[in-house]
């Protein structure tokens, strides 16, 4: 199993390097095995250097949005290694500004041809990926109800204009 692990690691690492470059539009991301005290096996550390920045690769100093983009790059790297015909995402765009959200959507579009997506979001940019939109409302307190939504029905609070 150790060999399986190392092969998996090598592949996931390559995926991550590529994802990082794409999500950050440059820069350098990597995965590194590190020995840890008290741990029999080495752990996995993340090296992340956004373009133009000289932060020595430590992810702790990164901003909230940069950390999220890095983690998304890793999640996608794992997904690419073991692809599934279905991918479900719950508000992963929450800490992202519009530029980063668009880059995330462009990356997801690449998969949308071969993967069926179910994405929960509050973000208008992500909503634009939709082939189908459902709204969930709670008109009766405590009871959820599903409605179909057309893109033009969505206002800034997500759903209050529509009850189709």
């Amino acid at each position: 199993t150790s060999r399986l692990f190392h092969e998996a690691f090598a592949q996931i690492r390559t995926n991550f390097q590529e994802n990082f470059r794409r999500l950050f539009n440059g820069g350098k991301g990597d995965l590194i095995m590190v020995e840890e005290e008290g741990q029999p096996e080495p752990g996995i550390d993340i090296f992340a250097q956004p373009p133009g920045k000289n932060i020595g690769g430590s992810i702790t100093l990164m901003s909230g949005g940069e950390k999220a983009m890095t983690a998304i790059g890793l999640m996608l790297a794992l997904f690419q290694f073991k692809p599934s015909p279905i991918c479900v995402l719950d508000e992963i765009d929450a800490p992202l500004d519009d530029v980063n959200c668009q880059r995330l959507c462009d990356a997801l579009k690449e998969y949308a041809r071969t993967t069926q997506f179910l994405i929960i979001t509050h973000n208008k940019i992500t909503m634009a990926l939709a082939d189908t939109i459902y709204g969930v409302t709670m008109q009766e307190p405590g009871i959820s109800k599903l409605v179909s939504v057309k893109f033009q029905d969505i206002d800034s609070s997500g759903l209050l204009e529509t009850a189709s």
Binding site: E36, M75, A112, Q116, L129, P141, G142, L146, L159
Partner: protein, 165 residues
């Protein structure tokens, strides 16, 4: 394999029978805070055999049964049906369409079905093994999981990789 339909009845805030039809491509779910969007994801993971109440945000498994509200009393059971198209034969079953059912009664009685045949939880687990949809897959990223990924220790990340490998 792709999702066709998810039916919820008495599951968390979905007191009434609710059906979500999935089209190919991207399905987006929107709505205000607390309206039930993440509960839909919980329903999917639950019907596929999630065993940890904590990972469904509950203290015990019975927490998934609709507890009642100002206008409606608690449900007797929670049921979720997931209907999947299997024409690509990813699932180890000789059917082009597969329905997985999980039901939990408030007295604790529990039941799984595959195409309306009584089944065990492990049958469901084995059916979805290697599709990425099981508990070992990376197909479902929950709310807050990205933040945890960042904060994780190197050894915790290794565990994540080992599940993939």
């Amino acid at each position: 394999m792709f999702l066709k339909r998810l039916e919820l009845h008495g599951f968390k805030s979905f007191a009434h029978k609710t059906a979500i039809d999935f089209m190919p491509g991207v399905t987006i779910v929107v709505g205000p805070n607390g309206c039930g969007k993440s509960n839909v994801l919980d329903a999917m993971r639950w019907v596929l055999g999630e065993t940890s109440a904590k990972s469904l945000r509950g203290a015990k498994m019975g927490d998934v049964v609709f507890r009642g509200s100002a206008s409606m009393k608690a449900a007797n059971f929670a049921q979720v049906n997931l209907i999947v198209n299997n024409e690509a034969a990813n699932l180890k079953i000789d059917q082009t369409e597969v329905m997985v059912t999980r039901r939990l009664f408030s007295d604790g009685d529990a039941e799984y079905q595959i195409n309306k045949q009584k089944a065990r939880m492990r049958d469901v687990h084995e059916l979805f093994l290697d599709t990425g949809l099981g508990a070992d897959g990376y197909s479902v990223i929950e709310q807050g999981q990205i933040g945890q990924m960042v904060a994780a220790k190197p050894s915790e990340r290794r565990d994540l990789f080992e599940e993939a490998a």
